[in-house]
């Protein structure tokens, strides 16, 4: 999947979970940059990303996500290996 397409889908997932009209994620975006992205919402976001792309993050992967870019790279790798 192209990076642009991936971010478009991630933006849609995040907007739906965070109940916002629009979300524009960047690779450097972190939870601190988006209002409403707290610990409980974080679980819903991760679950939603996993379900949408039919993937499952490994524990060590998810623990190393420092920003959206880390997560997007991981999603891309998993999709490429499908």
């Amino acid at each position: 999947m192209e990076e642009k397409e991936l971010y478009t889908e991630l933006n849609q997932i995040f907007a739906a979970v965070l109940k916002k009209d629009k979300v524009e994620l960047e690779p450097t975006t972190t939870a601190a940059d988006i209002s409403g992205w707290d610990s409980l919402t974080h679980m819903i976001l991760m679950g939603s990303v996993e379900k949408h792309f039919s993937i499952k993050f490994k524990l060590m992967e998810i623990m190393k996500f420092a920003n959206v870019g880390d997560m997007a790279t991981c999603v891309q790798k998993k999709l490429a290996n499908k």
Binding site: V17, A31, D38, S39, L40, T41, H42, M43, I44, M46, G47, S48, E50, K51, K56, F57, K58, L59, I62, M63
Partner: protein, 216 residues
């Protein structure tokens, strides 16, 4: 005798976590939120404790236990918030995400949003106390306070700098509030849920933040 918890204490620590969660009631929020049985919860907590990820309340290495006649009788977890660069709530959230299927998580989404109503932010750099539990026949001996004091002493001995110790608890747990007051904690924040549905998840709709300042 107070000592660091080990893998051999895992079953006792699971009981401590669950009993602390019950806050003197029969209700376990994990079970209510994720629609899982206590048996399923115990299995999930066992898997999470096996990972031993520090900096949050579901980690064996962050527990101290009090022992009597070779048996653990009291337990208490403590960590420095954000010491690893990640908030304890995110670490715990990641663990729960990993050990739960996404369907279970997403079904719980509305309830997780509801829990936000009484969510109190944990202050980075403070010593956070969680899962304080004493076996019923050993209560009234001050074991919980001894464990907290030992956590403070151990953390300070390793050169960790912190000026506050904080604990979050539900407002219905009057005995715990009294015990913390006796241990020099004071109430600094109170958060009450507006939505009455919170009682479907928790035994009480008000969460308290109590704090003890340390003098150097």
């Amino acid at each position: 005798m107070i000592r660091k918890a080990t893998l051999a204490d895992k079953d006792f620590l699971i009981t401590a976590i669950i009993e602390a969660e019950k806050s003197g009631s029969d209700q376990i929020s994990y079970c209510s939120i994720f629609s899982i049985s206590e048996t399923q919860l115990r299995e999930m907590l066992s898997n999470i404790l096996d990972e031993d990820v520090q900096g949050q309340e579901l980690c064996i290495s962050d527990f101290l236990v009090a022992e009597e006649a070779g048996e653990p009788v009291a337990a208490c977890c403590a960590w420095i918030e954000n010491e690893t660069g990640m908030a304890s709530s995110l670490i715990k959230g990641n663990l729960l995400t990993y050990f739960m299927d996404s369907e279970t998580l997403l079904n719980a989404a509305p309830l997780l949003r509801l829990m936000n109503e009484i969510n109190i932010h944990r202050e980075p750099g403070t010593l956070q106390i969680e899962a304080v539990y004493t076996r019923s026949d050993m209560r009234g001996k001050g074991l919980g306070t001894d464990l907290i004091n030992e956590h403070i002493a151990c953390s300070q001995a390793t050169g960790k700098k912190f000026s506050k110790v904080q604990v979050q608890l539900l407002g219905n747990n009057k005995n715990a509030v009294k015990a913390y007051e006796k241990a020099k904690f004071i109430l600094v924040e109170e958060k009450t849920a507006v939505n009455p549905d919170i009682f479907k998840l928790l035994p009480y709709g008000t969460k308290l933040l109590m704090e003890r300042k340390l003098n150097y």
